[in-house]
Amino acid sequence: MAERCAVIGVGQTHHKAKRDDVSIAGMVREAAKMALADADLTWSDIDAVVIGKAPDMFEGNMMPELYLAPALGAVGKPMIRVHTAGSVGGSTALVAAHLVKSGRHKRVLTVAYEKQSDSDAMWALSVPQPFAAPLLAGAGGYFAPVIRAYMRRAGAPDHIGRMVAVKDRLNALRNPYAHLHLPDIDMAMVEESIMLWEPLRYLESCPSSDGAAAMVLAAEDAISGSNPPAWIHGTAMRSEPTIFAGRDQVNPRAGRECAADVYAQAGITNPREQFDCAEVYVPFSWYEPMWLENLGFCEQGDGWKLTESGATAFDGDIPWNCSGGVLSSNPIGASGMLRFLEVAMQVRGQAGEHQVDGAKLALGQAYGGGAQFFSMWVVGSEKP
């Protein structure tokens, strides 16, 4: 029988293009110490540590749990390193949650990070392989054709992507930890930005950030700290192959089934009505309408209409990415955990200027690889 599990501490760094003031350990400790302080705990109170990040080649540090064990107070404890591509921040939190839910541990520290500026993100993701032809430039080149397929399928007008780009950057102005703070952002500014991978413009794409996120998860009888806990109401992971005949990359089945699983656990039948907000992995603007459909917030083909109506804006009926999302901060390995962490902050009422009034139930989602790995959780202010 699974134990109840709650988020009792959250911490994150100020995300920046280059955190040139810290070492890798210094950066992850910044987030971890903040999470411990939030939970009113010290290193010695933690039973196990779960760490996640995207490819080790970003920092040139193989299996970094080895180097980081002492920096995260893990000496003498179990430590696990998760890697599930872009969804890793989310799945890392889920592995930590399972250590608590299984009754194995009372308090688990989970940390995700990327210090992309140690290398060059685009290179690390596009290592030229023998026998191949160099065609693409990073993730945008991979996802832009999928976005075009969505636009065609849904009959979506061009300006939807720009709307998301503006909305998430406006939200970021409310989040002191966000990497991009663009006070002058508007539709014209997005349209004037350089076209990188048509149909994707520069300002419709995520930045490359250094940063870390951390959470303390606890069993019901180990709750601490002065902030209220964020109770975990459901957790789910799903994967499908990268390439296969008949694969729907626009609306991947793994995403739909992952959502169905986590909704069933949390008793969600109408996500748009039941959730107060959501933090969803949107690295390219068009993924908001695509994931609105994939996550069942609307009918197929209507995602762009929901965005266009303003429903997902900060003052809409179902705000998405009030923190500014991946479009405003993207320390890749941590980006998924930031989604999970931000919804925990929302239901704990600690989101400050980007707090959704009275948020009680929220969805965190992360995806990775060729939109093939999904991790999700539902957190709430009430005990499940």
Binding site: K18, R19, D20, D21, V22, S23, I24, A25, G26, R29, W43, S44, M57, E59, G60, P70, A71, L72, G73, A74, V75, S117, D118, S119, D120, W123, A124, V127, Q129, P130, F131
Partner: protein, 152 residues
């Protein structure tokens, strides 16, 4: 399909990583560039060398930096008769964990000696730095350690 029918190719994975050091590692590397050593004071007063932002066992923040070395004692060592291409010395040498005078933890570096018979655990060594003009603030600023008072 036989071996000859399966394709092979050389693949080089190469990045010029540039790492920000943060204050503690930066202070140690700055001291190395100056031809000296510093360690960090841990919670129980022990001196950690090379210093990290955290105690290597408890994870607690470290305190002030103190000067250590340049002499030290070999805790354990291993003789490399055939150096690998990326090793710091290309003539036979020893890897050693060395506790610098004033330190409570040992650091890894190379020890230059004429042969394994010259070395022993507990032997006294001292750092031989590269010339000041060649030092950049890296572990390689130490050319190697050498036996104290011995021929170098």
């Amino acid at each position: 399909m036989t071996d000859s029918e399966v394709l092979h190719a050389e693949h080089r994975l190469e990045y010029p990583y540039s790492r920000s050091t943060g204050p503690v590692i930066g202070a140690f590397l700055t001291a190395l560039r100056d031809g000296r050593f510093v360690g960090a004071t841990g919670a129980t007063g022990q001196v950690i060398v090379p210093p990290t932002e955290y105690d290597p066992v408890t994870g607690d923040d470290v305190g002030e930096l103190v000067e250590v070395g340049p002499g030290g004692t070999i805790e354990t060592w291993a003789w490399v008769s055939t150096p690998l291409r990326k090793h710091p010395l290309q003539t036979p040498f020893a890897w050693a964990l060395i506790t610098l005078d004033g330190a409570d933890t040992a650091m890894l570096h190379a020890v230059a000696a004429s042969g394994p018979d010259d070395l022993a655990t507990g032997a006294r060594v001292v750092a031989r730095f590269k010339p000041a003009a060649e030092r950049v603030g890296a572990m390689s600023d130490i050319e190697s350690f050498v036996l104290e008072g011995g021929a170098s």
